[in-house]
């Protein structure tokens, strides 16, 4: 019997990026296939191709041995392929039944919605696979884990037999994850096939029948849970093709600058994202926070910088208690912050370079005198920073929207690192940048350290953390799994910690 799903040589290029590079994949009936890889490894692109959202530049797709071409989600659904997106596509104010039938409504008497029929079918599906979903409930009242099951019911209602789950555990609590695993088991037991996208090693090992690891758009290996363990998967996932080297001397740690005690912070969905973290960063050292994204790093940095409320615990900067202080107060205590999302948080894209380099100092001399902006001083500052930080821009008056990503980031780095600060926080400082910009920004961070500032770098890229940091702390599910000295940190040890294995 041919496999349910077979991909051959799928290649997808975005301008400048090779998102998928000749990927082969096979899914047998009743199997769970895990697609494992870091963010940006090409997992989602591949699945979006399968779901008809993107078209591959090369390669073929076979369903039960027949070659198919998928031009859109409706094609995919017709072929029995269904996808649960990371962000649910549910209408919160509608009931489960309404959500499930939406787009495929049962009708009676020519025009009246047949809710009874639909909800009966939903109940059957729910019972058959042990989903325990009440068809009459309103979606917004349901916990996230149940909402996810509603998404699964939507697919089953449309008779999908290949189910793609895109990072399904990212939004779930550990208990909900257990429930999901049970559901997936029950699905495959009754003949459905599942593709499970994840970067969490434990779940992948627990749930899947086969594992395909993607890295930088390529399939780097196919294995089974029996013949692999977290260690081997981690090293496959992280890879070792590029080794970044940052020229730097030994650190000379001084006084404690950033002191975080028992910090608890909630994420966007009222879920605890940082659960009781304590650590210190000293002047003159770079601490790298490693970890798979979504393990509380974003919330940690936002809480330190005053952008997110602290539930409990304490943040001290230079001996001052800045817990729940305003972002401005924290900036004025001598904190620089290179934000994770540079376009959304760090820049006003329609503003000129000059007006962006004073974004958080616009109100102090020399850029302002009383309520008045001092454009000459602003222009002088812009000229100086453009030269000093090598920002490639036609003029200081050019809107930053017209600059490349690397130069946009340099504008932020110039703004943040040119100030005399005692603490520098940098989140994903080099994400998506070219090698030249990466090296430059790394050098600037090291320089800041050598000037005596405390530097905390948050990055999902292990290479970056290893190259930059003097000390590395690894975050996992809102906690610090371990702290390693840069000299004793190996990729394998870090990989294990990142995967939540404490005994590294």
């Amino acid at each position: 019997m041919p496999p349910v799903l077979q991909l051959r040589g799928i290649t997808k290029r975005f301008p400048g990026v090779l998102a998928n590079d000749h990927i082969d994949l096979e899914l047998e009936e009743g199997q769970v296939l895990a697609l494992l890889g870091e963010n940006g490894a090409g997992k989602s692109t591949l699945m979006n191709i399968l779901y008809g959202l993107y078209h591959p530049d090369e390669g073929e797709i076979y369903i039960r041995g027949e070659k198919v071409s998928i031009h859109g989600p409706s094609d995919a659904i017709r072929l029995g392929i269904g996808m649960v997106h990371q962000h649910f596509m549910l209408v919160p104010v509608l009931t489960v039944t309404e959500n499930v039938m939406l787009g495929m409504e049962s009708i009676r008497n020519g025009m009246v919605l047949d809710r009874t029929k639909a909800s009966k079918r939903i109940r059957e599906i729910s019972d058959q696979y042990g989903l325990e979903v009440d068809p009459e409930a309103t979606v917004e009242d349901l916990p996230v884990g149940i909402q996810q099951r509603v998404e699964i019911i939507k697919l089953l209602y449309r008779n999908a037999d290949i189910l793609i789950l895109d990072e399904p555990t990212a939004v779930l609590t550990p208990q909900e994850v257990t429930g999901l695993i049970r559901v997936v088991r029950s699905l495959v037991a009754q003949g459905k096939s599942v593709v499970f996208i994840s970067h969490k090693l434990k779940e992948v090992l627990e749930l899947s029948d086969r594992i395909v690891v993607l890295r930088r758009g390529r399939s780097v290996g196919s294995t089974t849970p029996e013949e692999s363990d977290e260690r081997s998967l981690a090293s496959m996932m992280v890879g070792r093709d590029v080794i970044l080297e940052v020229p730097k001397g030994p650190a000379h740690p001084g006084d404690v600058v950033l002191d975080v005690q028992d910090l608890v912070v909630k994420g966007d969905q009222e879920k605890v994202a940082v659960s009781g973290i304590s650590f210190q960063v000293r002047g003159g050292e770079i601490v790298g926070a490693a970890g798979v994204q979504g393990n509380g790093q974003t919330e940690l940095v936002e809480a330190i910088t005053g952008l997110r409320p602290v539930e409990s615990g304490r943040v001290m900067i230079g001996g001052h208690d800045v817990t729940n202080a305003s972002p401005r107060a924290i900036t004025e205590f001598g904190t620089a912050h290179v934000p994770e999302d540079r376009q959304r948080d760090g820049l006003v894209l329609s503003y000129s370079v000059a007006h962006n380099v004073i974004l958080n100092t616009y109100y102090v001399p020399p850029f302002a005198r009383g309520p008045l902006m001092q454009e000459t001083a602003v222009a002088r500052q812009a000229d100086q920073l453009i030269a000093q930080f090598d920002v490639r821009t036609p003029s200081p008056q050019t809107p930053v929207a017209n600059l490349s990503g690397g130069n946009q980031q340099k504008v932020i780095v110039a703004r943040e690192l040119s100030r005399p600060v005692q603490l520098t926080l940098a989140s994903q400082p080099t994400r998506g940048l070219d090698v030249g910009s990466i090296e430059y920004i790394h050098a600037q961070l090291v320089k800041k350290r050598d000037e005596g500032a405390a530097v905390l770098v948050v990055s999902a890229e292990l290479d970056e953390v290893m190259a930059l940091a003097d000390r590395i702390l690894v975050m996992y599910e809102g906690r610090i799994m371990g702290t390693l000295d840069a000299t004793e940190a190996t990729r394998e040890r870090l990989g294990l910690l990142m995967a939540g294995v404490a005994t590294a």
Binding site: F14, P15, G16, V17, A19, S44, T45, L53, Y54, T305, L307, S326, P327, R328, T331, H337, P339, R344, D345, G346, L347, V348, L349, S350, Y351, H355, L359, N360, Y362, Y363, A368, P371, L372, M373, E375, R392, T393, P394, S395, Q397, T398, P399, A401, N402, L403, S404, G405, G406, N407, Q408, G432
Partner: protein
């Protein structure tokens, strides 16, 4: 999908930057001249929008003129001749009503006779008079746009400010003009400012959308004015008419031609120009203006930069309301000298058009206001001489907004090239935005 566009823009951006770099190396136009050319180009769409709207207006006039149909009955040539004479007559009256007759102005100037000169420039003075409240109201909406807020409440703020101004104008007596006039103006600004700040506060505190709340505040203001100025209302004159008492002469805005009552243009216009400069200065030269524009352009970045988004929203709405309030104050202190019950002017709603037309820039708003003032003044004359209803102006104004808001139509019509992205119109995010 997002991922794709992100990937694309990452790549496009350096190319663009490179292109600019290359331009600089090749030494094309110097930066200054390029910028002027860019500014000129940004005027093309508004200009064509106005022209197109006027052309459609002309077509409306022709198609609703029976004499044209009658003439076409006598032959096509006759018909065309009649149609063009109808348009010439109507638009002739329109332009001379808006700007005056140039020949007459020149002869009058050469004659040196005061009466003649005043008669000749009368249309121009009317245009300026009408544009005065427009400038204030337009600035009010434009300031809101700059701060990312849609102030549909200018009309209501105008009413409340009118009530407050007129009250200070007639109830406060015995003050010298130098104190009374500024006091009355200030009262209007404060009244309008408070009326605008309330929806701002609601937005800052509860996130309630300012579009809904400013509309609701409009209704409250309309009914409040109706109640206060009802024939028996608390602010009525007391002679059975639904109007307020006359204000004290000490609160009058000085006229340019105090002996010529028919020329109604007054120093309110100078005040309007001064306030436009002030708003420009506030927006582009002060830290508060920088905060307002940052909150308008990217509230997340504003928060990151340590600005208080809530405070800025309240301030922006209060300032916007104050500007709308001054619109009423100048109208009452400069022209009407009392407040009638039926005060509806539509200024507050036209102001949205003005802000759009002026691309939310204070000087653009001044130009747009002069245009709308001219449209109104010209239409009066057109109705008097050519019997074309004044309401043609609303049609033309409506069309201008449509064309400015949907420049694609104009571009298609005149086969213009696509613009650079930064030419985008400044309005509000969220609601109804793409």
């Amino acid at each position: 999908m997002d991922r794709k566009t992100a990937a694309e823009s990452n790549v496009k951006a350096p190319e663009r930057a490179l292109g600019d770099e290359a331009d600089r190396v090749r030494g094309r136009l110097p930066r200054g001249r390029r910028r002027t050319r860019g500014r000129l180009r940004s005027l093309v769409i508004p200009f064509l929008a106005i022209v197109t709207a006027l052309i459609i207006g002309a077509l409306v006039i022709v198609f609703t003129d029976e004499t044209v149909y009658a003439a076409f009955g006598d032959g096509v040539g006759r018909g065309v001749a009649r149609a063009s004479s109808v348009i010439t007559r109507a638009y002739g009256a329109f332009f001379s009503g808006a700007l005056g007759n140039p020949v007459r102005i020149i002869t009058a100037l050469f004659s040196g006779q005061g009466t003649q000169i005043r008669r000749a420039i009368y249309p121009l003075t009317e245009t300026i008079r009408i544009s005065t409240p427009y400038i204030f109201a337009g600035l009010a909406v434009a300031l809101g746009f700059q701060g990312g807020l849609f102030n549909i409440g200018a009309e209501g703020q105008y009413f409340v400010a009118g009530l407050v101004t007129v009250f200070v104008g007639y109830a406060v007596t015995g003050l010298p003009g130098i104190i009374h006039l500024p006091l009355a103006l200030l009262a209007g600004a404060v009244g309008g400012g408070i009326w605008g700040a309330i929806p701002g506060l609601l937005k800052a505190k509860t996130g309630a959308h300012e579009v809904i709340n400013t509309i609701m505040m409009n209704y409250i203001a309309f009914r409040l004015a109706e109640f206060m100025l009802d024939a028996n209302g608390p602010m009525a004159r007391g002679d059975g008419r639904p109007v307020s008492p006359e204000i004290q002469p000490s609160a009058y805005l000085p006229q340019f031609f105090p002996n010529q009552i028919e020329i109604r243009v007054n120093t309110g216009f100078l005040l309007a120009l001064a306030v436009a400069v002030l708003v420009w200065w506030l927006l582009y030269k002060t830290t508060l203006g920088y905060e307002i524009r940052t909150v308008g352009a990217n509230p997340r970045a504003a928060r990151y930069a340590g600005m208080s988004v809530a405070r800025t929203v309240v301030i922006t709405m209060a300032l916007s309301g104050a500007l709308a309030g001054l619109s009423a104050s100048t109208d009452i202190l400069g022209v009407l000298h009392f407040m009638p019950n039926a005060f509806s002017s539509g200024y507050g709603f036209d102001a949205i058009a003005l802000a759009l037309l002026g691309k939310s820039h204070p000087f653009g708003v001044v130009l747009a206001s002069l245009l709308f003032g001219a449209l109104r003044a010209g239409a009066q004359n057109m109705q008097g001489i050519a019997q074309v209803p004044v309401d043609l102006t609303s049609i033309v104004q409506g069309l201008i907004i449509v064309f400015i808001a949907a420049p694609e139509i104009i571009r298609k019509l005149y086969r213009l090239r696509q613009p650079v992205a930064s030419d985008e119109l400044v309005t509000v995010r969220g609601w109804g935005g793409a």
